[in-house]
Every structure is written in structure tokens, then in C-alpha cells.
């Protein structure tokens, strides 16, 4: 387990806390929307909507659209979830540290 400074004493009405939580949520939504766009383009776009166009190109022994429908999209999905887990867990850590700092009375901008 990572080190867990106590954040249970954080005052939820503190404007700095409200701001930190807002910032966390906006970043979270931004990451999510970006990844979902890739999801839609790779799966529903390359795999379905443009499959006939992509099939004019070859990838190894595969027509490209066919490859996206049966292999490529799955690989993209896997990478998307990996990236999401890495980015969001890091964001959680930053958020945790930020809240702990507010809780311990330090100004959030006093350290790099």
C-alpha cells in the first residue's frame, strides 16, 4: 500500500477543498472523454463504419478493416483501460497529497 497521510480531518466546506475536488473532477472527465473518443474511433469507426474503406489496405496478410474488427479494436481497448488506470491512479495520488496538505494547514502552493 502507498503511504496514506490522514485526510479524514479535511473540512469539506473549506473553499480550497471544494476547489481541489472540482479540479480533480474536471481532470477526470477530460481524461475520460479523450479516451472514449479513441474508443469510438477505433471500435465503431475503424471496426465498423470505415471497415470497407480500410479493407482496401493490407496489414500483413489481413485486409485492414477486417483486422480492426477482429484484432485491432480489442488491442486498442486493452491499451485504453491500461492508460486510464495509470492516469487516474496518478491523479488520485496527486489529489490525495493536495488534500492532505490542506488538512495539515500548509498552503497548497507553498511547495512545488
Amino acid at each position: 500500500m502507498r503511504e496514506a497521510p490522514d485526510t479524514t480531518t479535511v473540512d469539506m466546506r473549506d473553499p480550497r477543498v471544494v476547489e481541489a475536488i472540482d479540479r480533480y473532477w474536471r481532470r477526470n472527465v477530460r481524461i475520460m472523454v479523450a479516451l472514449l473518443v479513441v474508443w469510438a474511433v477505433a471500435g465503431l469507426g475503424c471496426g465498423v463504419l470505415f471497415a470497407d474503406v480500410l479493407n482496401r489496405f493490407q496489414l500483413g496478410g489481413f485486409p485492414l478493416g477486417f483486422w480492426f474488427a477482429q484484432q485491432g479494436s480489442i488491442l486498442v481497448f486493452l491499451v485504453l483501460i491500461l492508460v486510464y488506470a495509470l492516469l487516474l491512479n496518478r491523479l488520485d495520488d496527486q489529489h490525495h497529497v493536495e488534500l492532505a496538505r490542506i488538512g495539515s494547514g500548509a498552503h497548497p502552493d507553498s511547495e512545488p
Partner: protein, 613 residues
């Protein structure tokens, strides 16, 4: 050793392991029973989720469907994996932070309505029973084909095993058994695929072998398949949007399967079993990684099997036909009704002439006596040069039974490639593992829906821990018996009803949960109206087109894809109504804020702090 001896050995060993795990992980409280005490590591939860998700349909039927459909089969691959992206990004971490036991828990608490909770309970039970019936059919097929025992005996054995580990260990027992079942099923799927790939193309990695040239004549496999398909009148293997599968239809089915996957209660509930929000994210990744091992291999198996199927059957005489054909003919999964020239002709329905020339069929839901009648009449028709009897090919074609059953692909491919007996036996153990692991996860959803959501949350909130645990075990026991009966007396509509389950999950749960998490404005009435609109539209469209012969009036979309439209309708109704109704109560808004945020003393942390066991 014979194939049957190997099969007995593998099945006995794997069943022994499942029972041992069940005994080691028995539980004594509701937290252990429903969410495994929330103590499952992310990677183990990922394996359990993968085994839970990959059903008899994924293991036995999916490669077969791809083999038959070619490009279009990719919609199952994309739909059933793409749903995990939605699950991981939109649902899993937030539901974990919410921290109760079930999907109806979330719907009921978020929308502050027992009516909404009840709708969710009914949907969860319906979806689960639909699914379980399919699993039991899979168990029956494996037992009857490989061990040559009666289907009834096979189902009873399977049910007895699930009964023991599900009632003893609840979610904890099921989770750890599923981890073992995952390894059994993935080994059973990969070993034959690797062996066949090596044999056909010289590449040990099936995903590469699929894109390589055949060792026999140096032509790339996919090019060869496209050529054979064109010659024999089948739709192209690699080109999209052929026949009934228009672009719009493939799009809708893919989207409906994706949203349906993310809305299926037995998958969602797995993310309640991990320790933390961050573990929920990781476990979604592990789950898709383990699932993709099978899903990336299935299209390769499908292409290899397609090649073997055409190559070893078309144009052959009875004496030249391979052993596997004769073995499987007895099961009714593949039939040959000759036109009198003594050579088998396997052709597609690209044009009327080729469709008439096809001589390969399947028994489908026809009984053994009906099939014998058709074959006898066909023989009379042949002997009398058409004067007496009836052309069995026309009879079966009229019933839509052209071509072999798709389940034969995975079951018979190792035999097609003449692999060793133990590899063929491994497939039997893998098929059973896939069916049993999914069945047990679904049975737990049924049990928690009745004992937790209905009894504890609605009927008797004062019920003690001990009462709830007893009721949970009794319900799971009853559900096992009902599921067993569905396996022994399979309702003929099972395959159509599975499309129903996905459509319903996409049109009801998915929008309600997503809006419940991401909107603080949507309250009870708009959400209920949306769910009901989605369910009624989707259900009536599917029932209408499957049973009443209704034309696909909605942009030509078939019943499998209509869940995507139902989902859009649900979202639209909910969002349009939301501004006209008061916002949810303060308590609910605070709950939503707390699940948006990974920190703080939300309900998840309180449960975490509670003593375990």
C-alpha cells in the same frame, strides 16, 4: 489412453479442484457471501471476472459464429470487449466507491425509490435466468458428446458441483473457483489453437498464423477463404456489409452488445469485490487482458476451422469423409443429405441455384425422431428418383437449418486437425469450466437480487445477518434447481432470448447507472420514465420481430441491435424530462459528490472499516 478416458480424467480432476477450493473458502457472513469480504486482489478479480464473463457461448459458440459470419462476426468480438472500456471508464470505480452489494442497490438508493429498485431486481433476475439456461445447455452438450452420458445426468452433475461451492462459499467461493476455471478454460482454448496454427501455417502464434500463408499451397489463409467462399456462393469472409448485415445493422448490434456488456449485473457486481477504487480500475484492466487472450484467439480458430470445414467436406464421397464428421453426425450438429451423386456438396446461399445444391445441414431444435423421419423420407425420395418421399434438403432449408451447427467449430476443430486425444479431452474440461463459472456468477446475482434487494431492502429491513445468509443460500439452492431444469428441458427460444438479455441491459441499466453517476440533476421520475421507455420499446420490438413476424421497421435494424436504439431512447427521455422535475434530495446529491471523489469518508470507507468475518 482413449479420448474418453482422458476426458474423464480431466473433468474429474478439475471438479475435484473446484470442490477443494469451495471448502477452503467457505464463509459465514453476508459481506463474504455477496462481495467476498471485499478482499479479492485486483489480478485475481480480473481472472474471476474473465471466467464469469466468458460463458459457454464465448467458449463453444463464438468462434463458430465468426467462422460462419466472417467479418460480421467481429461485432461480437468488439461488442463483448468494447463494453469493458465503458465499464472501466464510466462505471467500475464509481460503483466501487458507492460500496454496496448489487446493481439494484445503486439504482434504488440513487433514485430513492423502491419502485426503481424493483424494476432493477426484475431485470437482473430475468437477464440472469436467460443466461443460465444457455450455460446449462452447454454443460449438457459437453457431457453427452464427450462422456456419452445422458444430458440429464450431465446437467445434474454440473448443478451438484455449482450447488456445493455457491452455497458454501457464496461470492468468495465462486471467485476463487472462477480463478481456477479461468486457467482450465483458457488452456483448453489456446492449446488446440496453437497446435492447429502451427500445423496449417507453421506459425505457433494463432493471431499471426491467421494472417499467414498455408503450408500446403502457399496461398494466404484469408485470401484462400475469400476464394473458396466466392466459388461456393458464401458471402465474402473478409469484406464487410454483405447480405442482411448492412453497415447500420452491424453498428447497432456492436453498440448494443457494448452497452449491454457494461450493464450486465453479474459483471458489474465483480467490481464491488475489490478492496479500493484504484483496485477496481486495475481489475478492469486485468479482466480485459485475460478475456482478450481468448477473444484475440477465437477469430484465428474460426478462420482455421472454416478452412478445414470446406476443405475436408466439399466434393468428398462417403468413404473419403473424415472421422470427425461421422462422430459429430450422431449428435445432429452436422447432417449430410445427398442429391444422389454420392459426393458431398457444401455451398452457400449466394444465389438460388447454389442454395439448392447445398447438402450440409444441422438438426437445430428438431427432435431425434423428426430427424430420422426426414432422413428416411429423403432416402425414399432418392431411391424412387423423386416419385415418393420428400427431398429432405428442401425440408431443412425451409426451416433455416442449412449448414452445420456453429457449436461444432470449437468442439470438433481439434479432431479436424487430428490433434492428440488429450487435447480433444481438454476442450471438454474447458467447455465445462466456462459454463459452470458463468452459471455460478449468475446464480449469485439471482440470490442477491431476491435475498438482499427484495427481502432485506424492501420486505424486511430488520432481518438479521443470519436470516439473510440463510435466505441467500436457500435462494441460490432453488435457483440452481430451476437452472438445472432449464438445462434438461431447454426452452426453444434460448438463443433469441440472449439477444434480449443484452438489449434489455443496454436499454435499462446502462443509461440509468451512467446518468445516476454523472448527473446530479436527474431524479426519480425522469430516470424511471427513461428505463420504462427503453425496456418497453426494446422488449416489444424484439418480441414483435422474433415471434410475430413484424418487419424491422426501425431503419431496418434487426432484433439483436435494437437495444442500441432503446438505449438512445432511454437517455433522450430521461434527459428531456429531467429539467421539469425537482432535483434529487440533498442526501443523494451528497452521495453523488462522494462517489465522484476517491477520498473521504464515503460509505465504502465505512464498510472497509467494519470488522471482517
Amino acid at each position: 489412453m482413449s479420448v474418453q478416458a482422458w476426458t474423464f480424467l480431466f473433468v474429474a480432476i478439475s471438479f475435484g479442484v473446484y470442490l477443494l477450493i469451495a471448502w477452503l473458502s467457505r464463509v459465514s457472513d453476508t459481506s463474504g457471501f455477496y462481495v467476498a469480504g471485499r478482499g479479492v486482489p485486483a489480478i485475481a478479480n480480473g481472472m474471476a471476472t474473465a471466467a464469469d464473463w466468458m460463458s459457454a457461448a464465448s467458449f463453444l459458440s463464438m468462434a463458430g459464429m465468426i467462422s460462419t459470419l466472417g467479418y460480421t462476426g467481429g461485432m461480437y468480438l468488439m461488442g463483448w470487449t468494447g463494453g469493458y472500456v465503458l465499464l472501466a471508464l464510466l462505471l467500475a470505480p464509481y460503483l466501487r466507491k458507492f460500496g454496496h452489494y448489487t446493481v439494484p442497490d445503486f439504482i434504488g438508493d440513487r433514485y430513492e425509490s423502491n419502485a426503481a429498485r424493483m424494476v432493477a431486481v426484475v431485470c437482473a433476475i430475468f437477464i440472469s435466468f436467460t443466461y443460465v439456461a444457455g450455460q446449462m445447455r452447454g454443460v449438457g452438450i459437453v457431457f453427452s458428446r464427450f462422456l456419452e452420458v445422458d444430458i440429464t445426468v450431465g446437467v445434474v452433475i454440473g448443478m451438484a458441483i455449482v450447488f456445493v461451492y455457491a452455497t458454501l462459499g457464496g461470492m468468495k467461493g465462486i471467485t476463487w473457483t472462477q480463478v481456477a476455471q479461468y486457467w482450465v478454460l483458457i488452456t483448453a482454448f489456446l492449446v488446440p489453437a496453437i497446435a492447429i496454427s502451427f500445423k496449417l501455417t507453421g506459425h505457433a502464434v494463432p493471431q499471426i498464423g491467421m494472417g499467414s500463408s498455408l503450408l500446403s499451397d502457399g496461398i494466404p489463409l484469408l485470401e484462400k477463404l475469400d476464394g473458396l467462399h466466392a466459388d461456393l456462393g458464401f458471402a465474402s469472409y473478409t469484406q464487410p456489409f454483405t447480405g442482411a448485415w448492412s453497415r447500420g445493422n452491424v453498428f447497432c448490434v456492436t453498440l448494443a452488445l457494448m452497452a449491454g456488456t457494461a450493464g450486465l449485473p453479474h459483471v458489474i457486481v465483480r467490481f464491488y469485490t475489490v478492496k479500493t477504487v484504484r483496485a477496481a480500475r486495475w481489475s478492469a484492466f486485468w479482466a480485459l487482458l485475460f478475456i482478450s487472450l481468448l477473444y484475440l484467439t477465437a477469430p484465428a480458430t474460426a478462420a482455421f476451422a472454416r478452412y478445414y470445414m470446406i476443405d475436408s467436406l466439399h466434393g468428398k464421397t462417403a468413404a473419403e469423409l473424415p472421422d470427425w464428421f461421422h462422430n459429430w453426425r450422431r449428435t445432429g450438429l452436422i447432417l449430410w443429405l445427398d442429391d444422389g451423386d454420392g459426393r458431398l456438396s457444401y455451398t452457400g446461399d449466394g444465389d438460388a441455384e447454389r442454395a439448392r445444391a447445398n447438402e450440409v445441414f444441422r438438426g437445430g431444435t428438431l427432435g431425434a425422431t423428426e430427424l430420422v423421419d426426414i432422413e428416411v423420407a429423403h432416402q425414399r425420395w432418392l431411391d424412387s428418383s423423386g416419385a415418393n418421399g420428400a427431398d429432405g434438403r428442401e425440408v431443412l432449408r425451409a426451416r433455416g437449418l442449412s449448414g452445420p451447427d456453429q457449436d461444432i467449430i470449437v468442439l470438433a476443430t481439434p479432431e479436424m486437425a487430428n490433434l492428440a486425444g488429450w487435447i480433444i479431452a481438454l476442450v471438454a474440461a474447458g467447455g465445462l469450466a466456462a459454463a459452470l463459472s458463468t452459471a455460478s456468477g449468475l446464480l449469485l446475482v439471482i440470490s442477491s437480487s431476491v435475498a438482499h434487494d427484495f427481502y432485506f431492502r424492501i420486505v424486511n429491513p430488520a432481518a438479521t445477518e443470519a436470516q439473510r445468509l440463510v435466505l441467500g443460500r436457500v435462494v441460490i439452492g432453488l435457483a440452481v434447481v430451476i437452472a438445472g431444469l432449464l438445462g434438461i428441458f431447454p426452452p426453444g427460444f434460448v438463443s433469441q432470448v440472449v439477444a434480449f438479455a443484452f438489449g434489455l441491459a443496454a436499454a435499462s441499466f446502462f443509461p440509468a447507472i451512467v446518468l445516476g453517476i454523472f448527473s446530479k440533476r436527474v431524479s426519480t421520475v425522469p430516470a424511471m420514465a427513461g428505463m420504462i421507455a427503453g425496456i418497453v420499446f426494446t422488449a416489444s420490438y424484439i418480441i414483435g420481430s422474433v415471434y410475430a413476424g413484424m418487419p424491422s421497421w426501425c431503419f431496418d435494424i434487426g432484433p439483436q441491435g435494437i437495444g442500441a436504439v432503446g438505449m438512445a431512447l432511454n437517455f433522450a427521455v430521461t434527459l428531456l424530462l429531467a429539467p421539469f422535475f425537482p432535483a434529487p434530495s440533498r442526501a443523494v446529491r451528497e452521495m453523488i459528490e462522494s462517489i465522484h471523489e476517491p477520498e473521504g469518508a464515503g460509505p465504502a470507507l465505512r464498510i472497509e472499516a467494519a470488522p471482517e468475518h
